[in-house]
């Protein structure tokens, strides 16, 4: 198991799922949100010509911005669980796993901040 080698709290799990059910449910709920958002985007793009006007108009209303941001944040949480599982399956040294997990989280937060700017610039 992924535990620090010695010292205070040496039995404590440093990296891992911690609360498996939260992640499991979170990943599934966010997947439903993402599917619905993709269907919404896909259907509005598919029926009708795709020009800048129609595309930008789709993202113009506040509700669409909020919906898209919720979807993108769902994507980030979904990706976090998935990528974390990959690290947990293949990377065993605690230091390596913790570093990769840290990079993943920071990276995803950065993407989240960026998506706010992308959506609210329209």
């Amino acid at each position: 198991m992924a535990q620090s080698a010695r010292g205070i709290g040496s039995k404590r799990l440093v990296v891992g799922a911690h609360y498996g059910l939260t992640g499991f449910l979170g990943q599934r709920i966010t997947s439903v949100v993402l599917t619905l958002w993709v269907l919404l985007l896909g259907s509005s793009v598919f029926f009708g010509p795709l020009t800048y006007e129609t595309w930008a108009a789709l993202f113009a209303p506040l509700w669409m911005k909020v919906l898209s941001l919720v979807a993108l944040f769902s994507l980030l949480y979904h990706a976090w669980i998935g990528v974390r599982n990959i690290w947990m399956d293949y990377v065993t040294p605690v230091w390596a796993r913790l570093s990769l997990q840290t990079i993943t989280v920071l990276w995803l937060i950065a993407c989240g901040v960026w998506s706010v700017q992308i959506l609210w610039r329209v």
């Binding site: 599934r28 599917t35 800048y52 930008a56 990706a79 998935g82 990959i86 992308i118 959506l119």
Partner: protein, 138 residues
Amino acid sequence: MTTFTATKRPRPQFRNLNFPLLLTYRLPLAGWVSIMHRISGAMLFLALPLLLWMLDLSLISELSFERLRGIASGFLVKLVLLFLIWGFFHHLIAGVRYLLLDLHIGIDLKSSRASAMAVYAVSLPLTLIAALRLFGAI
């Protein structure tokens, strides 16, 4: 109340799978769906900045929209996009299958094999349609 302390036994580890075996073992179809779900998910995660950048370009202005259209008209770019589209469709369709399995729908061997087949039967034609659309055939 009695306290019970379990003696800590080493957990059994079964490392009977090595690299040469990985190459010769034949995965069942559901196994392929599973590993490709993971690979496509990792791929989409890595492509996230590219996708966000494309979303950004598509939304900033008419000028950047046309710039993106220009970039996406390159053959190699189209190939990369098609690869991502395949990954997306596989991940989406396989994901729906997992949601159904989580709801205990189709968990017997026969129907799970059929649904694994269905993942390919849906995601590959969708990718083909996207390819034809992307390369201007339809």
